[in-house]
Amino acid sequence: MKLEEFSDIIHRCFRCGYCKFTYDYADFNCPSYKNFRFETFSTGGRMWLIYALMNNEINWSQRLANILYSCTTCGNCMENCRFDKFNDFLVDIIEIARIEAVKNGFCPEKQKSLLERTLNPEFYNPYGELNSDNQLLKEQYALPETAEWVYFIGCTSNYRQKDLRDATLRFLKKTNINFTLIDEHCCTSPLIRTGQTESVKEIMEYNIDQIKATRAQKVVTSCAGCCRTLKVDFQKHDIDMDVEVYHTSELVNELLEKGKIKFGSNFNKTITYHDPCHLGRHMGLYEIPREVINKIPCVELNEMKRNRENSWCCGAGGGVKIGYPDWAVNVSKERLEEAKKTGADMVVSTCPFCKTNLKDANENFDMDLEIIDLIEIIDSLELKLD
């Protein structure tokens, strides 16, 4: 997509500022505006700047790139902007402006490394880790070459949050899901979010070919970012999917609903749930993870003040974790402070990237909380199969 495709609507932004706030206006809920405070760092400011750029009223600059790249793409603006048929496109417009930044040579250096590593045949992932073709895992878990399901692990789970990956693998085995793994490359989320889209379709096609080779009809992923990319961005890039995509929380919920599994042990903890932006505001999956949590015996779920559509972002998304590492962790610190107020000793999420950033804040600021993914809790429980 090109910015020109939005030329009929981009100037609709009135800069009224609803995009900055929580639902009740008590606080700012746009991470970048809350931190940088100039109007330029609000979504309204960005819309006006992009419009000015389209009209040649301003030029590309490092500052402009900085303003565009400091958006976590959390989608709070889309929730709070009141202008229908415009609000849905706010994050898209910012992401497309980033494509223009890349084309004009203004992609920040740190974000560039995401592409360099992902295209490197030794890595195929934004972390620069040697590519795992997942053969060892397939052997370890005795996974077949063809199966009904593919577990798309995602780079963060495979290279940074292996506990989450392993918990998912164990859960899938325990529940007798007929699944396998593929030699996956990055889902392309980091590239799309940072405007480095030139090779995206090719990588998507590679991944979909790998999935199709397994004859799977369904893909499950434990990553909110991968899930959004597979469900939304693949379609946008005209990828012939022909497979159903599930987030792990959706799969667990479906198994519980159909009575195929039951929890056979208790989880005596007070927890709070952090909505990943890519799962929540981007795909509307708020209740399913909560439904799963509420079916866990003895768990106490205390909601944070900002939850569901009104959630505070963890601060990692949109390339912010790599671009602004210190600030990103500060955003998570604010989330953990809010979590503490609930009386919970455990913060549960459904995204390895949120987990990474929340964990970093937990350690950096001695917050003394446990950060865990929902699938790790599920894996720790005794499961009764129908």
Partner: protein, 456 residues
């Protein structure tokens, strides 16, 4: 001192992160969503406290650089866009709610506190108290709105927001801190007098007299229940009498009139919304019954408000920005003029004609202020920012409306430069002398938002 030396000085005062002379900030702060032409800026600065503001004012005096204090930046009439360049002082980092005095019913806040923030704070922590907030986006600041004589949903009962100010703390153009109101004498920021009342000097003067950093605003008892009584009538000339009758009952918390060419069913009608409050449904029903009778006797027809209208008009803060989207073009400005009640009929009639002349769907209305001692009639013109002809059309309509308002004995509110010029042309010469003398005395270097209210 050259520009880069001034930048360094400003960075020393507020820190590198909160001063900018980059094209991005200069662009965004040089233009607002109204119809004013963009004007150039030299620096945007976001101070955190009064001490920093004092230092900036001292620097501006030394270097003779204009300073333009800015709240939410949503006056729509370009009041915080510099006329002669200079420093835009974005006040939104001064955003602490300092005190809610429940007994004496006031809120003491910093100048960057938004209407949404204070509204939300009271809702959560002081459910028996409320503040009159404007029909504006929640990002507007209380200070900005009160200091331009804004109005809101309690203005019918208690006056415009400028009247609700108990006191101010300011950085004067000479860099000194000054308190006005009871806080000049007492620790309690509870009222304006009984001392010479200088608060008025800082309202509607658009930052030409000083920079407000703190203020006290009145809070009011919050009713248990609120509802609205909706009515429509065909002839705008019934408005004055109808408002007079409704205000005579003392039943109205707020009264709004509206004329909208869209949706189609509203075209050709004036609608009236009277807000009523009460302890229980029975009380509301009694008030509604009485108002229905008054509507009927004065040529208006009661109409059960459609659910969408109820939802829109009972929401606090009201989603006023919707009017800015009529043309789907992100541009919106209105003349809101203060009129004596007696001129309301004519103002509405002429306003409709101006809209028709410029091919703009009529969107105007009125808020009754202080038991109809003042009626703020607003004439809105939304436009497409992407269409320069449409913007010019809106500017022409605004000019005609300003002229019409003054002809009818009204006064354009928060007027843009063109409106200020028209007002000054009509102003008593000795008022102008007084204004100029005070301003010269306070601000001999003319650093405070120069170009606004320029007598000479």
């Amino acid at each position: 001192m050259n520009s880069s030396e001034i930048l360094k000085k400003l960075q020393q005062i507020v820190g590198n992160d909160f001063v900018s002379n980059s094209q991005e900030e200069l662009y965004i702060y040089s233009i607002d969503p109204g119809a004013s032409e963009p004007r150039s800026i030299d620096f945007v600065v976001m101070p955190e406290n009064e001490e920093q503001i004092q230092k900036i004012v001292n620097l501006a005096n030394k270097e003779k650089i204009p300073i333009i204090p800015m709240g939410g930046g949503l006056t729509l009439s370009g009041l915080v866009i510099p006329v002669n360049g200079g420093i835009v002082l974005d006040m939104k980092r001064l955003n602490r709610i300092l005190e809610i005095d429940e007994t004496n019913r006031y809120a003491k806040i910093e100048a960057g506190v938004s209407a949404g923030q204070l509204f939300s704070h009271l809702e959560k922590n002081y459910p028996n108290l409320e503040v009159s907030i404007p029909d504006a986006p929640p990002s507007v600041t209380i200070a900005g709105n009160t200091l331009i004589h804004g109005s809101g949903f309690l203005s019918q009962k208690y006056g415009n927001h400028g009247d609700m100010l108990n006191g101010l703390e300011l950085v004067l153009p000479n860099g000194e801190i000054c308190r006005v109101g009871s806080c000049a004498v007492s620790d309690h920021w509870f009222t304006r007098g009984p001392i010479p009342d200088f608060i008025g000097l800082f309202t509607s003067s658009f930052g030409t007299m000083g920079i407000a950093t703190k203020l006290s605003i009145k809070l009011y008892p919050k009713p248990k229940m609120r509802d609205l009584v909706f009515g429509i009538y065909k002839q705008p000339e019934l408005s004055t009498q109808l408002i007079w009758k409704v205000t005579q009952t003392e039943l109205a918390e707020d009264i709004l009139l509206g004329v909208q060419g869209k949706p189609d069913w509203m075209a050709g009608y004036v609608f009236i919304i009277t807000y009523i409050t009460g302890k229980n449904q029975e009380e509301l029903d009694k008030k509604e019954k009485k108002l229905k009778r008054i509507y009927r006797k004065n040529g208006a027809r009661y109409m059960k408000a459609p659910p969408r209208i109820r939802e829109v008009f009972l929401e606090k803060p009201q989603f006023a920005a919707k009017a800015a989207d009529f043309r789907k073009g992100g541009g919106f400005e209105y003349v809101g003029s203060f009129f004596p009640l007696s001129q309301t009929n004519e103002a509405i009639k002429r306003g409709i004609k101006i809209s028709e002349k410029y091919g703009i769907i009529p969107t105007l209305g009125a808020r009754v202020i202080d038991r109809a001692h003042n009626v703020m009639v607003f004439f809105s013109y939304s436009f497409n920012r992407a269409d320069p002809d449409d913007m010019q059309n809106a500017r022409n309509a605004l000019h005609d409306t300003n002229v019409m308002s003054l002809e009818l004995g009204g006064i354009p509110w928060k007027g843009e430069l063109g409106a200020q010029k028209l007002i000054l042309e009509k102003m008593d010469p000795n008022y102008k002398y007084l204004l100029e003398t005070i301003r010269n005395q306070l601000d001999p270097n003319r650093i405070m938002n120069p170009g606004n209210w320029e007598v000479k």
